[in-house]
Amino acid sequence: MNLSVQIGRLTLQNPVMVASGTFGYGIEYAQLLDLNQLGAVTVKGIRLHPVRGNATPRTAEVTSGMLNAIGLQGPGVDGFIRKYWPFLKALKVPTLINVWGTTVEEYAEVARRFDALGDVGALELNVSCPNIKEGGAQFGTDVKLLSQVVTACRQATTLPLITKLSPNVVSIAPYAKAAEDAGSDALSIMNSYPAMAIDIETRRPKLANITGGLTGPCIKPIAIKLVWEAAKAVKIPIIGMGGIQTAADAIEFILAGATAVAVGTANFYEPQTALQVIAGIREFLVRNGIADVRKIVGCLLAGER
């Protein structure tokens, strides 16, 4: 039984990783699950400098999901390397660094810094965070800016580059293609969807930031569609995410065209989710007599009734 998959030149022992911003820097969950069983650990978004993040309340619970507007709080590159890198470096599984900036140059500079660090698994370029005023989604909803960010990072590093696309576009295909053409080795789809909730008693938005990103099982059907569409548009592998709770969810993404998947919001309520998903994928393959998970990537039977 082969579960391993390839993301650019990076080999994952299995296709199940954890999504940026939902797993801290790995160490927080180290007592609750064996991190070395994961496909990869993706850390919370990092820019060059420390970031304080948005005012609170930063999250709200909604039907079958949640909103967040954390505002990419983080320790910056140096703080991350000092506080968290020794732990992550010692893991047997690769670490993916989720990178963001407010300018093309900052993205590239962060990429250069991690390139120099050595041992990093890959960089995931977050051009799709809906919760910050500068940077984030602005790069992910403009094909030209997206190309510039990816091109600049491509020049800054030989690390595998993963571009994390925004769902908030009319059609994802041109963005997927632009990232591929600019040298991205893979795509992550999807980030949270811009949304909002109101407390009717106080008449205030439930988030201090007013709007936030919607995640969790409620967005899965949107994510599946975006992965399917992007997979038709590009040749590079896709990491699918959005509402994964079970192995069945993950397999849905894989059939739609994802080479790997990431568990996000579900970590918060069930930290074992990623491990359960790995076990369930294995079971599904055994039950269907399939020896290699790569055999089902994109194997949706459509239009051939």
Partner: protein, 279 residues
């Protein structure tokens, strides 16, 4: 426990208190008064680890479209069981209040940094509790070798919980209710102020309750130049430090930074809390 022990890393630098996930069985789940309930669960792995002021992050499995865990202070520990004292305020706690003994919950715990348990010969603890804040205070009182005074407050008589149990531990209890239906009429800070005006020497404050109460206690601690530990109440998603939902402004260097109530807290030294930062 050093997380470094879990890996081959030669450079473990971050200390995390021990925590684990456990499926626990409900042994009892009875109404205490009004909307307050006491839930007792068998949790042989979590229970022995609990320190006063820590919390359990509880997944109420029958909720389906509502996914997140709910945090509750640990109220009592006895053998391989622990209990929580909770108020039914919304979806999660209402569903919880209808779960019969025998059903299961998933618990992650114990979580967070608890209170500094007063050591023999240390300051006299003055505990200030509002509503379900009495839960965290009870475990502190029980574990404290030093006895002191508990100030408990609430809106009405039904909001005053476990008063007798505090007395049974040999603690003095001062009660205040806003409607005067029990104890002094007014806020819990009134009897506290009265006590402090009588003298502050060797006293230390510990508080758990609604945020306005915590803020008031913090201000009183400032005025009387007393040490105070406050258990902060913020909405939480993960409970373990990854999501950065539960932050409060905490003084750092010349300015302030957001720290996590689930990890750096819920208990903070009141001098560290940057109340003045407007949201």
């Amino acid at each position: 426990m050093l997380v470094g022990e879990l890996t081959a890393s030669p450079a473990p630098t971050i200390l995390l208190p021990p925590m684990l996930e456990e499926t626990v069985q409900i042994l009892a789940n009875d109404r205490d008064s009004d909307l307050y309930f006491r839930l007792v669960v068998r949790a042989p792995r979590v229970a022995p680890l609990v320190q006063p002021g820590q919390f359990a992050h509880v997944r109420v499995l029958p909720m389906k479209a509502t996914l997140l865990r709910r945090p509750f202070s640990i109220f009592q520990v006895a053998g391989d069981t622990f209990s929580i004292l909770y108020k039914a305020v919304g979806q999660g706690t209402e569903v919880l209040s209808r779960m019969p003994p025998g059903e299961e919950l998933s618990v992650i715990g114990p979580l967070g940094r608890g209170f500094t348990v007063p050591q023999p010969g240390a300051e006299t603890p003055l505990l200030v509790a509002g509503g379900y804040g009495m839960a965290a205070m009870y475990l502190l009182a029980q574990r404290s070798p030093q006895r002191g005074i508990v100030f408990v407050g609430g809106r009405r008589r039904v909001d005053i919980l476990c008063e007798d149990e505090f007395r049974a531990l040999g603690w003095q209890v001062r009660v205040a209710t806003e409607d005067g239906s029990h104890g002094e009429m007014g806020l819990v800070t009134q009897p506290l102020l009265a006590e402090l005006r009588r003298g502050t020497d060797g006293k230390k404050l510990f508080a758990c309750g609604p945020t306005p109460m915590l803020k008031a206690v913090g201000k009183i601690a400032d005025e009387f130049q007393l040490p105070a530990e406050l258990s902060m109440d913020e909405h939480m998603c993960c409970g373990v430090g990854v999501c950065l939902t539960c932050v409060i402004p905490v003084k750092a260097g010349d300015g302030w930074e957001y720290q996590r109530t689930c990890t750096e807290g819920p208990v903070f030294d009141s001098r560290q809390v940057a109340w003045e930062v407007e949201k």
